[in-house]
Subunit: 342 residues, 4 copies
């Protein structure tokens, strides 16, 4: 089988590196173009030694010079603010181009919501309406038919999968609390004070409390699924691990509802969502596309826990899951591999 | 000044080791007796090499043979189920003995609540009524006059300090969510699957969701402070760090209340509670007696964050803070030292 | 292609779990039998949740009841002392059975050397002579023709690959110092004081200094390759990471030798050994079969550094590399995948 | 007792922060001046929240404007290249000023050695001759009489204490291998790629192999103690912990020498050096001034292991130990406190 050539923008960031790792052995896709502003002109294997042996003929290109003409599909692992400009240029040249954008630029349909969350305007606000929101398990049918997919944020993925079964049945209302903890790779490949090892290695703290830009996309997707009259409160925390997002979602649900059965039924047949009898645990999902999940209740209080990899299901592997879908490949192609225990 | 001799039971556990560390240089207290069932007869410095040079003449005794006659005060760093038996023996011999018990045996006044939380009966249920609950900042006056103190649980300390200002003003009601994350030392000195380094080092998960034994003592203390009509939901999580508890408390409060001013006023003058403008951070409180705290709100949603050391303010250093009080010493004696940054 | 059925003994240990992970998607091999003394009768996916979805029909068997009759090959991931007994039983039943033993039972040819290293006798000392020592890159031809392979120890793999090029040219002599640091998974799946997270997480120490059982197998293999007149000193250290072995090998070499060219030439064409211009780094080889390596010199002092995954190239993936070879498959089948960066 | 006022330059770096922590409760010294180029004008407690409550009246000054007139002593925690300029200005103003410099500027007596190690010239090369090298346990008498002390490098401290007993008896000769591993705080307070948490947290690698600037100061001190005819090879490694240096020193010693007795005798009476029967372990010395040490031998090969805190005995606490000495205080004042276990 000929592997479909794909162009990857922002290939030297952590999202891009993870995409390269997953695409190195993908049965249906191959990386034809990889761009990096900073490393343009250098061999991929020299910049990213972990990939030595896998991309012998690939060099980073500048995003400007990259035509990506031979590619039917593009992955934008560029930061928000960059993606929508690249997108405009690329689709102007080829309106049939398939695009999965990993940034936040096209996730929020409503322009006011976008501007409140990102403090900026979009180049092509109208384009957002043509993007399918890429939480695969909640929006698969729309993704399959879409040309363009807005890949969800990492916190958003962990939160939506925790709450979608309730939202889909109109059971999500009132105060919803999301206490979520991310690994340090969520801050990206550039060293920052918050990811300085001597200070992060044994630490825990919060940031953007009640003010994280992923909160409105959770609200938007839950509303789309049928929820209303709920109030989200997202508390993002930083944990001393490299990869993963652990989510605690807490909500009140009528005691008459058999919540566990609801979740079991809802995720039955999903290959990448696994229900756990006790608690999900990050180490089993890290470097995979899995979301592990458990449901707990006491009287009317319901707690749902999810564990995902922020760079995997929360970013790169979900992007490939979506790209597989829009290109007509098996959704799990190149992704269905188990995690490790230690 | 002559230092007051103190007996320390359960001295080889993590709570005991931390007490020994703090008492090594305490200006008003000295360790006269240290017991350990397992290490009876061995030199303290041989069993605990980190203390080499500080207790040259001290050997572990068996708890049975220890009369502790010369000691005016006893620290019980023994597990629940053991403490109340030791207590019974010790106070029978000397009813004037000062006791700080670090276990859960005497924290809950109500016997039914105790049995529900610990799945066991107490030897001396009536004695609980004579114990002051040892959350120093919320119960200082009672502690000062008490002979016996029930030192709080680690999760409980982090939660109570987060919510006490609201409880004390009758503002705590409705659903209260506690998402708390503990370091691995909270599991004690004996190796267990949950603290096996290959599996814990980069992991995060939850345990005893909505079923942790510290939850009822939080409820009890908040009720005593004036709260009513609230429903706690505690979600304990395990993080990949050695020491510390990070607490996210979420609750709805009337928008008219100036919550930040309330907290500032409530903790004004407290030497071991520090308000932070952004977020507390574990690394600044680890190995100290401090509780760092921040308050966040959006409309009616209030989030309070606290950071403590589970073995410090959540255990050993708070026990010494209480012992200082009941012995008439400066509450901060031997405890007022800054944390490190990296 | 029909995948060759393989039996895996000791499948619930860390070596076994890693073998299961690698075999889950192996193109030429499939796990037909998995044994575990402790978990006999339980579903593999229930015991090892990270594998949920990959072995739906596999349950652990007791090693006693397992005939493994349908399997052409066996992987023994059992501890030393167990492997040689299982081996005796299995090959008595089927002398043509292909066996890769991951324990130390058949690595040392010389019985006296074995007894000195392991403090025990072997059931079948003579069998060792029929085992090929499984350091693939130094003994490939013998492995390819062997029925039975003794897979190297993790420290030994890191050390042999660092020194083989010198040994093969008769340049290894005098004092050879090996300072090696292992991750905690090397201690196995059972919790122990040395792998207790609160004590291991930020610690470093040494163990079995000048007395580790992997040292004689390094000497044996280097001698076989042509070295003589050298004196090894292995200093194993424990580091606070979960996976990996970092090796510092130090030796004096005649200044006239172009050591770097020698290494480049020696490993040219090896798919799993990569020379680095500066330093290897564990994170790039963890969860892979790669050995990354660098060479440094100043005057007559030569330092060679290697980085491998103790559970990968140092154990499970090298075992599969060897099994591929003896079964006539591509040596890299199921193994050639890049590592991740963060 | 009136505490002696001390000026601290470079107070916001990691060395400076650790000095502030140790001086917060020092019985004989107090911080009168703290400088920071970057934070000049800001309150110390606002910049360094871990110190909140301990320096209520102290603000960072610019190093230029700081007269430090009232201070009898100065601690220079400034980088090399800065220290010697500050020193020149300060001693010109007050030749009697006591100075402990934590940088590398005055450690090497020989100007050529300095330039080879640091690639730079010194402002006052001649001044180095008036500095006592501050490895307290090997140079105490000279330090006590000195006005100025050049505090050793962290790797150098761990190496010198490992080898000094041999050097002092003329037993150090031939090849000496130093494989040393440092925690991430050794890289300082500014984020760098090498201390980026996602990449450092589970990693190990080497750097400046056979080319670290601390190597010549080890050689210089060992020569001063009586060693000759030896060849050092220092291999610095980076480990995934925040604080500590673990040293493996390997050398050949005549089998007739009772090496362990030699070490026991040499360090008898030293309060901050502790011999261990098995292995030192970083966690027991971190945040202390201790050096724990063990000696191992097999035939003629001797391995000595040391564990220190790179920011403690390897930097800030040794600086205070030296400052105590030159000011006539008890050498251990403010420093004799035990470490923690977890």
């Amino acid at each position: 089988m000929t592997r479909i050539p794909v162009a990857l923008y922002g290939a030297a960031g952590y999202g891009g590196q993870e995409l390269l790792r997953l695409l190195a052995n993908h049965p249906g896709l191959r990386v034809a173009v990889a761009t990096s502003q900073r490393h343009a002109g250098r061999a991929v294997e020299a910049v990213l030694p972990q990939l030595d042996g896998f991309f012998p003929d690939l060099a980073f290109q500048s995003p400007e010079e990259s035509p990506a003409k031979t590619c039917r599909a593009v992955l934008l692992a560029t930061p928000h603010g960059i993606s929508h400009r690249l997108f405009a240029t690329l689709v102007e040249r080829d309106p049939e181009l398939r695009v999965v954008d990993l940034s936040g630029d096209f996730r929020l349909q409503d322009e006011a919501r976008f501007q409140a969350a990102y403090g900026a305007q979009r180049h092509l606000p109208a384009a957002a309406a043509d993007f399918a929101y890429g939480c695969t398990e909640t929006n698969r049918d729309a993704i399959r038919c879409a040309r363009w997919v807005a890949n969800p944020g990492c916190f958003a993925t962990g939160a939506i999968l925790a709450l979608a079964p309730l939202a889909g049945r109109g059971l999500l209302e009132g105060d919803v609390t999301l206490a979520q903890t991310t690994g340090s790779s969520g801050s990206g490949a550039d060293p920052k004070p918050a990811t300085h090892h001597p200070e992060r290695a044994q630490d825990m703290r919060a940031y953007k409390v009640l003010a994280h830009q992923h909160e409105p996309e959770v609200a938007q997707e839950l509303e789309r699924l049928g929820a209303g009259g709920f109030d989200l409160a997202m508390v993002p925390q930083s944990g001393p691990f490299t990869r993963g997002i652990f989510t605690v979602a807490s909500v009140r649900v009528d005691e008459a509802v058999d919540v566990e059965a609801l979740y079991r039924e809802r995720f039955s047949g999903e290959r990448f969502v696994r229900l756990r009898p006790d608690t999900p645990t990050l180490r089993h999902v890290v470097r995979t596309n899995f979301c592990d999940l458990s449901v707990h209740r006491r009287n009317g209080r319901v707690v749902v826990l999810t564990a995902i990899d922020n760079l995997g299901k929360g970013m790169a592997s979900q992007a490939i899951q979506n790209l597989n879908l829009i290109l007509g490949l098996d959704e799990a192609a190149g992704l269905f591999a188990p995690g490790a225990n230690p």
